[in-house]
Symmetry: C2
Subunit: 508 residues, 2 copies
Amino acid sequence: MGNPAKAKRGIPSKVEDFNAWYPFIVEAADLVDKRYPIKGMDVWRPYGWKAMRQIDSLTHKEMDRTGHEEVNFPLLIPEDLLEKENALVARLKRAREEGVDPDELRVEEDEAGFKKEVYWVKHAGENELDVPMFLRPTSETAMYTMFPLWIRSHKDLPLKVYQMVNTFRYETKQTRSFIRVREIHFFEAHTAHATEEDATEQIQQDLEIVDKIMNILCLPIIKAKRPIWDTFPGAHYTIGIDAIMPNGRTLQVASCHHYQDQWAKAFDITYENLDAKQQHVHQTTYGMSERLLGAVVGMHGDDSGLIMPPAIAPWQVVICPMIRKNSDVDTVAISHDVADTLRNAGLRVHVDSRDLHPGQKYYDWEIKGVPLRLDIGPRDVAEGNAFATKRTGGKEPLSIESIVSEANRCLDDVADVLRARSIQHMDDVIQPLPAFVEIDGVWSMQGEIEDGHIYEFAFAGTDAHSEIIERATGLTFLGDATDEFEVPQPCHMTGIETTRRVLLAKTY
Amino acid sequence: MGNPAKAKRGIPSKVEDFNAWYPFIVEAADLVDKRYPIKGMDVWRPYGWKAMRQIDSLTHKEMDRTGHEEVNFPLLIPEDLLEKENALVARLKRAREEGVDPDELRVEEDEAGFKKEVYWVKHAGENELDVPMFLRPTSETAMYTMFPLWIRSHKDLPLKVYQMVNTFRYETKQTRSFIRVREIHFFEAHTAHATEEDATEQIQQDLEIVDKIMNILCLPIIKAKRPIWDTFPGAHYTIGIDAIMPNGRTLQVASCHHYQDQWAKAFDITYENLDAKQQHVHQTTYGMSERLLGAVVGMHGDDSGLIMPPAIAPWQVVICPMIRKNSDVDTVAISHDVADTLRNAGLRVHVDSRDLHPGQKYYDWEIKGVPLRLDIGPRDVAEGNAFATKRTGGKEPLSIESIVSEANRCLDDVADVLRARSIQHMDDVIQPLPAFVEIDGVWSMQGEIEDGHIYEFAFAGTDAHSEIIERATGLTFLGDATDEFEVPQPCHMTGIETTRRVLLAKTY
């Protein structure tokens, strides 16, 4: 903010130009290197990968806690496995269009748009392959080919597995680190259940896990049941989880799909129930990706660089010993002692004893978003203190004697500030949608759509109403928020009383 | 061993038919599922993946300890990046053949056999790509494209990075789980140093890490400097690390390459030295793969299933509460208490309270190779004991009061037995090579080569001698063992005194 040292380093202003700030900061903070010669495939540098692995370990922990087991499926999927999936997707699509029960339809044509978005392996060595293969964009097809071999009876249910793998999407839109990339660091959980109700409960559990992780990442989110036209192919319904970026655009960071028994029917996944009858399983998936890190970078950073939520910061505390000539206090040794004390308490700590001007060190750790810096100079030592600077603002001496509890308190402060800022941002961004008036069959919007805002409204209208709203606003339906209105409100278009709270946003 | 229950389950005899036992056991123990519809691409099931991740975590720990940082590079490599690599390999090959300094040669032709072994991506969506890409078989080309951007001055050295990723090889030979697969779970460390000596020291450090990990896995190994014709393309020298399988064949589980500055010259990787001059870096790589798990499975298992080395066992201890009618002792609750005590001491413990016949449970945990089983029945509880069965043999009551130290002692016992067995196996397998006699320019071998053996001999001969030996024995030169003869011996072919100890084996 007007600091000439920073201006000299060329960090763009986040508030004034988020689209310049974001790509600058992901490289300046050493998260990724974008100079790899394939567009949309970045190199993860050590600092960025450490941050991502911390996010992954939150996920591993939640998966353990909820009885999911980790598997690892092949990357390559033979094209012929897609036939079942294509038939399923085409049938559901036609059923929706025609308003009939999908089980009554049989379609043969391949209508999946899917093939346009994948990388193909048609050659190996000097041979052309008999069956082309593609790089997984996600693993339904691969996994559901194996599930019938693993599920025999009700005793095998629920089956709850997950994997963390690289997935691929041939993006034709502009790429952006973490947000829109062509090789995606991806998490996907897949479950199979005896009944639709069990699958619905699984979705509830997924959403609780989402809440927990987002709270740790200090990110407020919108959970919305996507409209039918934005439901994942083959799904009964999709719940999208959107983070709100500083520019007011939403970024889908996770999603949960309830498949009912549609995929099970396509892939013949059945179990023998207690009455010795074969039943199709009901399935769900829950996915998240490196977009979580994109949201963390985008939401929390400022004009000095990143701000890492303490729970996932690669270094939660950096200690800078102050080396003064004419002092016989060994601040380096004391810094290492303090670091060991903090490490024994489970914190991730780095001692920066490089022979550099303190200003340079401060710059380096600010841009990397280390939540807590401790400076230890001879005078601090004499007073029994380490001098703390919180990345979200605020400086204070901490007693070395009680450094573990003091440092943890400071880290909690940083997380609280990040959470408060994010919630404030969400409140600022979400506004009521301007009124719509119908005169002689023509709808008009009574107000302007402002850039950087998300709009909410009560809705009990038809798909035709939705289309009118999307066209008038130029925004996208996120769907029905799981946070409904507490008391019924009149629908924006029809006046019918409803608690359904629909959100509209510009999306990434 | 003659147990009808086992015979009924169809576990082949390991001693009699290792080639049938191995593929049977990797599936029966739930390590992988080979029914995925691409040959050589298995699905990692939860138990197998857990074991592999334990091995990975040994590696992560060693990398941390030795100052390597984890990165993650894109899977896809554009074909045009290969030009530099091809020119390098071709130049080195010609220089070797012609016995000249490689720097004096310039060759243009593309001679790398490499292209025959990769999967190609030439299509994305509906487009044919301008530049074809291939799935990494290893990451030299990808990484060394970026290293010049990361290395500027001597302060940036040494650069030590590693990654754990999926790599791909279009295998045309018969595939075998973990041993020869087409998607490989791979570890690769890449380092760059100011001098050749620094790079040589890195190789020494790598070999120490190898020793440490192999000791933890209870696997005796051979480390051998590969003969020139088996050196990795572009390397100054290669040290292969071979495990010895039960059938006496060797399995290369790791390798270290010293590149000198050959790759640096091909990829223009230079640094500014203290005299402000540009110098090429000296590089090394160190690779390991899922073959480590293949060696663990192959070496330690028996006719009842796997035997997991305690350090990497997904479950180190399984507790089976014995449920007796007419007893009011809650053995399940006590089992969970004991499990919690062991978990708090850092052990991985599972309580099997399934309502099954104990024999079925024993079978399940034996086949999975759990090192220590504790049975807890009412009578054991009355005596204050848990009844231990070690997977390597031996049963004894353990005092619940001191269960942590007792269980750890048992686990150490299991590891010691595995190590002793492996060392015994190595001693049994390695034999002196029969004498070779030359009469009128014709060499003949004075004895027979026996199946299942590795042969050692002192060697100071020429490449022509090597060829004679390989042809006569039908075996492969592993190269010069890093464990040399303690006192010089006469060379097998020339009689020249040497400590060079060369090994010959049938390899995987």
